[in-house]
Amino acid sequence: MERKGEFAILSLSRVSKGFKLKDGMYQAVDDVSLDVKKGSIHGVIGESGAGKSTLLRLINLLEKPDQGTVTVDGHNLTEMPSKQLRKAREKIGMIFQQFNLVNNVTVSRNISIPLELAGVPKRERMKRVKECLDFVGLADKAEQYPAQLSGGQRQRVAIARALSNSPGLLLCDEPTSSLDPGTTADILDVLKDINGGLGVTVVIVTHEMDVVKSLCTHVSVMEKGRIVDSFSRQDGDFRPAAVRTGSYRDQILGKAGETHV
């Protein structure tokens, strides 16, 4: 694969985040550096408590790093004043395991809210909402309320909402973990379309190996707040991107012993 000219749309540099506990500090993310290439689907896999969600939340600064810098599309988010940071967040979509929709408003209004926040005029908003609904295949549900939809449909609404401001980067925190396998496959297809069709770079946090295998072009393995292993896909198979070891190595590479570093 051609490596030259590949541009990191997201770059974490020596980022750390600790939480104060009763008995001292807990280092949830510990000195992590990571480049996510434009156009890639970058998976972050690891066990519960490894710090995956915290890492994802550091990317759009929902969590303020104690140390290190976060650069998105060439802009250093860590140094931005809050108003500018809000503008930057408009171009970084985010979806969640629990969807986090506004349940008291309709599907179309949910998708319209980010546009309202960004000050998009009404006519344009309506056009954009329709496009996003069509994209996730829910045009017929526009006037329903989230409670009337299935989990998979709700996640589609959340995806449409995250796409409405045409972000370059989409952050996904376990987006399929509360869905059944069939629905999971559908949502992964939508994410593939977003990546392939719209050129949106995707960062997806998961603890499901299947999600990584069917979707990702790159994988980072997290353990105890650190990235301990990373892989990129070449000709369909994952290759180690660096000489490291980690508990997921055999699973990611397939049959043990088939691939050597």
Partner: protein, 220 residues
């Protein structure tokens, strides 16, 4: 039996009017000041977005003190404030001052409670799409909490109706005062019962209206 009731019809209507003024202004104060105060109480809490120990302590103390003060003593204690605001400490308008202050404190607590029921994830989603403080409040928090906010206002209104019944002490009038002065003190039992029935109907109406609106607003 209805003679005595008919005899005081005019006074009865007047006192209903006074109750409406006292309760109406308290509800207005609750919405205008209790809602923002409750929102501030919510944001300052430990673990919330604008966690602030000092401000939280100050606001909570004020709200608690107002709410724990025996109401009639509060009315008396507030007389200087009432004089300053209304020009007199006697009459219906004067009675609205202590009522409104209790209303603000009372409703702010219920607002805080309702906002606490909004899932944290919704706030997270709002911030992730670049919402400002006002955007977060008006497009997410109040929208998701709206049925609780309405129900809280309903409960508050009924409390204000109840508080308003003792405002006779400062010449505030109202249905409660009517029941005491014309019914109880003049031994006109029918008049008293009539006034009590009016109160019951009023409370039922408020509860029914509030309950219905809250249910209609809830799409969750």
């Amino acid at each position: 039996m209805f003679d005595s009731v008919l005899q005081y019809q005019a006074q009865m209507w007047e006192s209903i009017g006074e109750t409406f003024i006292m309760v109406g202004i308290s509800v207005g104060a609750a919405l205008l000041l209790g809602l923002p105060l409750g929102t501030l109480l919510f944001f300052c809490r430990k673990g919330q977005l604008y966690e602030n120990k000092t401000l939280s302590l100050v606001l909570n103390s004020i709200v608690n003190i107002i709410r724990s003060f025996p109401f009639l003593l509060l009315v008396v204690a507030l007389i200087p404030v009432t004089r300053f605001l209304v020009g007199t400490a006697i009459g219906t308008m004067a009675a609205t001052v202590p009522l409104s202050i209790v209303a603000i404190a009372y409703y702010s607590r219920l607002v805080e409670q309702s906002l606490l029921e909004v899932p944290k994830g919704v706030i997270e989603a709002a911030l992730s799409m670049g919402a400002s403080k006002l955007g977060l409040i008006f497009k997410f928090l109040y929208v998701e909490a709206r049925s609780g906010l309405v129900l809280g206002l309903t409960t508050s209104t009924i409390s204000f109706i109840s508080y308003s019944t003792v405002m006779g002490v400062v010449g505030g009038g109202g249905v409660g005062d009517f029941a005491i002065r014309y019914g109880y003190q003049r031994f006109e039992t029918e008049v008293m019962i009539y006034a009590i029935i009016v109160m019951i109907v009023l409370v039922q109406l408020v509860q029914f209206t509030g309950g219905t609106i809250s249910r209609l607003l809830d799409k969750r």
